[in-house]
């Protein structure tokens, strides 16, 4: 049995500070287990949001030693225990209390995105798709909405452009709809304007922190950028539009 020290951020919207907690840890524990142990024994009123403990609900997002991660999927065996482990709430969203942040901005952004508008069924009554098309969209549907990509994205985190940029999560969501061969809606104008896709400069931080290992930048954002450029910035098309 080993002893580890956790520096956990305690506070609320009006401010806070790191508090040191020392606790026993055993083989097989994850950060969330340690946080729960501290909560049960030393800090009953500490706020932490969690549900599944299996990396599938996306509730326990936090920053562990400065890295955006799911607390339930971060094993203590992969962190050096000889120095204190910092655990703090996500920086990009308003703080509620301790490790819990208010992520409701994300839900409001999602509501603005044009819904799936399916084509009529094929003559035989089905919506048959090519397997390649299914696989492409299926990757995006692995998203658990932990919002770690939103947290790490400098456009939101450092430049605070929450009103002008929808963030990697919702570029991905747009991609899942746009690349669905059964969809009839066109979201390219929204992506360019209210979506702010041009703000993304492909630093790939979102891809790096994604616990579902979705290739957000390569498979979703870049193809969308290409479509937007094709639609609005292609000089030949522009010329064609002038004369038509």
């Amino acid at each position: 049995m080993a002893i580890a020290t956790f520096k956990i951020w305690r506070g609320n919207a009006s401010g806070g500070k790191f508090v040191d907690y020392t606790t026993e840890v055993e083989a097989g524990m994850v950060v969330l287990d340690a946080v729960h142990r501290i909560q049960a024994s030393q800090a009953n009123d500490m706020a932490v949001r969690w549900n599944c403990k299996a990396g599938k609900c996306g509730s326990c997002s936090a920053e562990i030693n400065g890295r955006p991660r799911l607390m339930c999927m971060t094993r203590l065996s992969e962190i050096p225990l000889d120095q204190p482990i910092t655990v703090e709430p996500m920086h990009t969203f308003p703080k509620i209390k301790d490790l819990v942040t208010d992520v409701s901005w994300n839900y409001r952004v999602k509501e603005r995105i044009k819904k799936f508008a399916p084509k009529p069924a094929l003559a035989d009554g089905t919506w048959r798709m090519q397997q390649a098309d299914i696989d492409r969209v299926q990757e995006f549907r692995k998203c658990i909405e932990c919002f770690l990509c939103q947290d790490v994205c400098h456009v939101l985190r450092d430049h605070d452009l929450h009103d002008e940029f929808i963030g990697p999560r919702f570029l991905l969501y747009n991609a899942a709809l746009e690349m669905n061969p059964m969809d009839t809606e066109n979201r390219l104008g929204d992506l360019k304007d209210s979506g702010g896709i041009g703000y993304c400069n492909i630093t790939k931080c979102c891809t790096k922190v994604c616990p579902e290992e979705i290739k957000i930048t390569d498979n979703a954002i870049i193809p969308l950028k290409e479509r937007v450029v094709d639609e609005f910035y292609d000089p030949l098309r522009r010329l064609f539009r002038v004369f038509s």
């Binding site: 909560q39 049960a40 024994s41 009953n44 009123d45 500490m46 706020a47 932490v48 949001r49």
Partner: protein
Amino acid sequence: MVFGQRAGEFAAKFAKAHSAGRIDHAFVEKVAQNALGPFDRGAAGENPFAVQHELQEMMQDLVGIVRVESEMESALGEIAKLKARAAQAGIAGNREYNNGWHTALDLDNLLTVSEIIARAAIERKESRGAHFRDDYPDKSEDWAKYNIRVSKSPAGDPKVERVPVKPLTDEHKQVIEENK
């Protein structure tokens, strides 16, 4: 969808046939006071997480996979002790996202469910499905005739009753026969 439609239809009928219920404000006030009790006792009260953890361990040990009457009887004694401690649960801080407070409020329900499980398991003196009793290891034909119903007695504690299983209707028998 079938059940949703039925539920909606009969709820609407019921609502039309009855006027709105009267709210007992004194009762609401009492419930609210109870809910805030852990803050009055503060951090000096019982640790709600500790009570929850001990209840989990105790139920695992005494009313777990393999059950014996004597162990389940002693579980009832432990539940009574934990109930007394849960009534003294205290918590620091305020109502804002306070996991400890939520746990303190959960204790009541956890203890009620634990007691119902233990009492019903004591009543069923046979082994059936996931209910395995070391002291009654066999399935009993006689017990197949009863369900166990636990309801709230006027005094508030759980009342355990054997309710005869309704005989199969001819329609049910026919369905079973057709699917054999």
